[in-house]
Amino acid sequence: MIVTPGDEAELEALVADAASGGKPLAVAGGGTRAGLGRPVDAETTVATSALTGVTLYEPAELVVSARSGTPLSEVTAQLAENGQMLPFEPMDHRGVLGSDGAPTIGGVAAANVSGPRRIEAGAARDALIGARVVTGRGETVKSGGRVMKNVTGYDLARFLAGSWGTLGVLSEVTFRVSPAAETEQTLVVAVPSIDSAVQAMSAALGSPYAVSGAACRPQEGGPSHVLLRLEGFEASVAQRVDRLTALLRRAGNIDAVSADASRDIWRDVRDAAVIRDAADALVWRLSLKPTAAPGVIAALAPLAPKALLLDWGGGLVWVALPSDTAGAGADKVRAATRQAGGHATLVRAPEDIRRTVDVFEPPVPAVMALTRSMKSTFDPAGILNPGRMYAGV
């Protein structure tokens, strides 16, 4: 059964009722990421689809607030009318997860969904400056606000980003926004190896030219393509394209791709299109320090990945593995990423695998203990999205 509270008070009552009866609730926005995480066993799903509408938008103050169930597209359309955008470029998971529906602004916050611009402009959590949330106690807690800087009390709003509805149901979120760039260009650098790709991306990101996207599409049996995005005012972009080209002239052959084609490139990077196109695959998302990426990718070669994509200068690696890989390849993937100081998320896998294989990297025992204690402060009855992130959380 899906219930759709129409306001915060209804949401509070619904959660309080479930808490007193000890009945678990699955928490959903648009449901486009429902397949990400451990399966939640709940008869009732509380969806935010009736909590909609932009509640505040002040372009000159770079701030937008919206009820959590507001479709992301509605928010971004309003921003675009004023030449603004969400700085963190949230990924659309529908391709990779093969899901339908419309992503919501609350879902973006709850899953801390970012995209290629994360390296320059921060993640969703960085832009999340305020939130209202109905906790598992059926109480609405507000944290943060609508101003850019705020250290008044603990930063519960950011803490909720990436908690996947296990601590509370967001009812309203407030994001810092930024001006959309006047134009953009992408340099495509053909490099001989993943190692040289990471070197080229690090050189670009360590340059003063404000690179706002650094990705790499490794090609089997040919050169890998490094993609470097420069955004801003027309003249500035043109000048930085020249200077970055000069800086990287020894890295490989360089082409410049202009505005519309560049936007297509980055939409595909954002949505991990090459991973999406590897049909039927198991999909892993690895978070690493960039220089660790080549070694980790080499260590995964025995699993015969169907597709690879590097983003965030190599700090984010997407891996599509054949669907018949035993245990989703978790042992090998996790061993390789951990050894490199990183962590891995199993973004796409059939439900039976997600019941037995950890989807999110299990934290070390001390952090797991704190994770459980945070869960019990927000949701003492353990009814909100139980088990979505970790068993018992």
Partner: protein, 484 residues
């Protein structure tokens, strides 16, 4: 008499002082425990100098392991702990109590590793903010948050207060620039949060720890992002006839799609004092001045300055002055960053740190003037205008206790205005003791109870910096403290 109340020190702990000092001496090098009253007095206050208390003892550990053994011991003994970086808190965040042990991080000041390829630095938490930038500037990198106290303040303190600075309009505050933390919990457990990757698995504990004012654990090491500096930074000064014109100009610049790295606002009293101190070339015949800094290549900064000048024209700036040299640029920033120190030469002051929606700037400035006049005091105003972070300085004479009390009341009224117009009590200084009793203006009981549950989960006996952040009479029962 002052407005801020403090819990009565625990008599049992005071009576056990010698025993506790001896216990600490067993855990760290003998000279790392400061026992003599003269030595302890150096830790009696921070930059909120109106309040003082000599702590029970001061311990200066040299390693994370020492911090862990000290906390485990004090936790077992039920002794309160106040962590201290450099003691530059303007909110009383490092203010001790007579029954607490101060754990100072000043000896843990090494830069452990700089990784230019991955653009991170690993530092001990007692390192000063500016020393991170100093360590990497030779290669053209910097650490972005730049609080005015950056010469002295530590990363530990920056993490505790989520410090910002003039340039965070573009680069964000501490929470946006930290990738990993080593934290010692009150029971001595050492925990690593985050790491070297751009996201961390599980709940975002970094978000919770940054800005938690030393109440959840003691930070001993941090992995921070370092960024490549722009080729060129170009500050400019613009003077206006009114606060309204300057405020309108700020809003118009941001709405145009330009995000300068900094937009600083100073009013006439602030300009006069800073100019007398720093000889920065500030215009003296204006009501309000903006320092606007843009970055990029020479051509880019020239073009941005031209655009900004065009946008500013309708607001009729009476003075527009571009820095012509690095020396001039340095002087412009020296004037701004030394503002609090310069002001301290002419009067005692309380610095407020409220944040408002930038659109309300002229109205709030007017109300600040009315409030201070009503209490028979003066104010000078220095703001991070781009993000609405106000620093009104309420001037008073410390030798007159009545003036101090009036200054505190005026400050509280100003902060209430900030909340009333949709802002908050503190943008980058923290709540500390200073704004503790005002939390009820911004938060409901439900909001505060949830925050305090988090505190209790990390620190069940409320031993870590307990007298801060939360109103004394709102606390869980065992910690309800009697006002002195």
């Amino acid at each position: 008499m002052t407005a801020i109340a403090f819990p009565e020190p625990d008599a049992r702990t005071l009576a056990r002082r010698d025993e506790i000092v001896a216990g600490l001496r067993r855990l760290v090098a003998p000279e790392a425990v400061i026992d003599a009253e003269d030595g302890r007095r150096g830790y009696e206050t921070d930059a909120l100098t109106a309040y003082r208390a000599i702590p029970l003892a001061v311990v200066l550990p040299a390693t994370t392991a020492e911090v862990a053994s000290v906390l485990a011991y004090l936790n077992d003994e039920g002794v309160k702990v106040v962590a201290r970086g450099a003691g530059t808190s303007l909110a009383g965040g490092a203010l001790p109590s007579a029954d607490c042990v101060v754990v100072g991080l000043a000896r843990m000041n090494r830069i452990l590793d700089v990784d230019y390829v991955n653009r991170t630095a690993r530092v001990e938490a007692g390192v000063t903010n500016v020393n991170i930038t100093n360590a990497v500037s030779g290669r053209g990198f910097f650490y972005a948050p730049d609080p005015s106290s950056q010469l002295a303040c530590t990363i530990a303190g920056n993490v505790a207060m989520n410090s910002g600075g003039a340039h965070c309009l573009k680069y964000g505050v501490t929470t946006n620039n930290i990738l990993g933390l080593t934290v010692v919990l009150i029971d001595g457990t050492v925990v690593e949060f985050g790491g070297e990757a751009l996201d961390a698995p599980g709940y975002d504990f970094l978000a919770l720890l940054v800005g938690s004012e030393g109440q959840l654990g003691i930070v001993t090491e941090a992995t921070v992002r370092i960024l490549r500096s722009a080729e060129n930074a170009q500050p400019m000064l613009m003077g206006f006839d009114s606060a309204e014109a300057a405020g309108g100009c700020v809003a118009a610049i941001i709405a145009s799609g330009i995000i300068p790295v900094a937009i600083e606002y100073m009013d006439k009293p602030a300009i006069e004092v800073c100019e007398a101190f720093a000889k920065a070339g500030y215009p003296l015949d204006v009501e309000a001045m903006l320092i606007i800094e843009v970055e990029g290549s020479r051509e880019e900064t020239d073009s941005l300055i031209a655009r900004i000048s065009e946008i500013a024209a309708p607001f009729a700036p009476t003075v527009t002055k571009l820095s012509q040299s690095e020396a001039e640029s340095a002087a412009i920033w020296r004037g701004r960053k030394s503002a609090f120190g310069a002001m301290g030469r002419i009067a005692d002051y309380m610095v407020m740190d409220g944040v408002i929606p930038t659109g309300r700037l002229p109205e709030v400035l007017k109300r600040i003037a009315e409030i201070t006049a009503q209490y028979g005091l003066r104010a000078a105003n220095i703001f991070h205008a781009g993000d609405g972070n106000l620093h009104p300085l309420v001037l008073y004479d410390m030798n007159d206790p009545d003036q101090l009390e009036r200054a505190e009341l005026a400050g509280a009224d100003i902060l209430k205005v900030c909340v009333e117009v949709g802002g908050c009590l503190t943008g980058e200084h923290g709540v500390g003791v200073e704004k503790r009793e005002l939390m009820g203006y911004q938060f409901s009981k439900i909001d505060l109870d949830q925050q305090m549950r988090v505190k209790t989960a990390f620190d069940p006996a409320w031993l870590l910096n307990p007298a801060k952040v939360f109103p004394l009479d709102a606390r869980p029962v065992p910690n309800r403290a009697a006002a002195a």
